[in-house]
Subunit: 291 residues, 2 copies
Amino acid sequence: MGVLQTAKGIRVITTIGEIKEVITKVKRQGKTIGFVPTMGYLHEGHLTLMRKAAAKTDFVVASIFVNPLQFGVGEDFEEYPRDLERDVRLAESAGVSLIFAPGVAEMYPDGYGTTVEVTRLTDRLCGRSRPGHFRGVTTVVTKLFNIIEPDIAFFGQKDAQQAVVLRKMAADLNMNLEIEIVPIVREPDGLAMSSRNKYLDPEERKAALVLSKALLLAKNLINSGARNTADLKREVTGFIGREPKARIDYVDILSFPGLEEIENVSGQVIIALAVFIGDTRLIDNVVLEVD
Amino acid sequence: MGVLQTAKGIRVITTIGEIKEVITKVKRQGKTIGFVPTMGYLHEGHLTLMRKAAAKTDFVVASIFVNPLQFGVGEDFEEYPRDLERDVRLAESAGVSLIFAPGVAEMYPDGYGTTVEVTRLTDRLCGRSRPGHFRGVTTVVTKLFNIIEPDIAFFGQKDAQQAVVLRKMAADLNMNLEIEIVPIVREPDGLAMSSRNKYLDPEERKAALVLSKALLLAKNLINSGARNTADLKREVTGFIGREPKARIDYVDILSFPGLEEIENVSGQVIIALAVFIGDTRLIDNVVLEVD
């Protein structure tokens, strides 16, 4: 079985065999395929990716799969929010043609044992805090790319390191697709959209603004002429430190997309943050072009 | 440029960009693509793969690439025999339509950093003797599969563990192709065909028969009722040990294709050998169905 159908007609497929059949038919019709991989619990950031995909390709597939391989021990794989029914409705409204929502055993059957790893770019930022995380991401995305065979895959700039790592993987392995990175979508008050924002209680929700405000501070300092990354990181760290509910995982300023350490900001740079607000780990970033 | 052409018209392409263009055209014509990856210095074993590919698919691509990633420190990457002109002639005679012969920098440009790894099946046999070897194989084959996009890829049973590992990789990563394994081709006296046979001096060439003879011994013992793998391995090891030019790397009897240790032979099993004859490491195997 593995096929659900909503009133309006969007299909939810849960098996690899069935979705490959659909993909083969779609390709035979000469249609281009856009792909938006997600872990579900969709928000406006995901929907922006889907609308973009619908504008650029003929047939949009979204996947909803909370990938155990990219969660570490003690991370939130079990609690990660899930709501397939709501997701299907939202995806449909954003122009998605088909949803692929496999179970864990469908993606990683007994005896599964193959990994894809980008050995560069993954030892810093989130890769340092979450060992194995990017190997989990590159492995599942390789599988999904082979299953969906998209012409263009869409990822959010919110996970900036993920975007860079996936582009590197696709280039290194000569994959036959484009990867398009879509800007961060924010709440009206500046908080970057994230499924994990759901974990925040009202006090934490207010405290979480410290991330976007810290990035704005760094941007303003740079616009005022600050260039030394150590000084800038000290300012940002101090600013976040004044929020009692915040605990810094990392504050970094690196070249972009190379993610190299730099002494002074110059050219294209990324300011990237990971901060725990209570027990919830949030990330945010801004990419700047500096003269 | 990157394109050579022989008198009869077979093309040799050395760049990924150019071969992808050709592949796109071939696919647009609705032709099926057969693929035979090799490290060149072709022998009858390779040609058998190519003829098989030509019989089963519309357009056969052979790659010739001595892949540095699958050679360990102190192994024979530098000395591995190469003769592109001869290979092109032979491949053409075996029904190949196109040869892809990239340089190392084309496959692994500066900054290259992505690997594909099968974590099961690779810790035994050649994987134990040659750490990193299979990671090099699975990485280059993933790249080649993405570049050539074959419907069927052909590999030889001589590299039995490689065949099993690649099938596992293709299944785990949901690759869109079939992998066909073609039986070992032997010299009239029983020596399995290998590009490395070229390294053998006349005395070593004679001594090298110890591999196929040892397999025959094991097969005869099993046909006569022997079942205990420890006993069988002892017999085979003793037999090879009586050849002064031979030094055993491994002698193993495992389930096939699972490659699990077994106490008694039963069901489908592989007897696999790696033996140094002088400085040359040779491998051979036989797969048996045992009642």
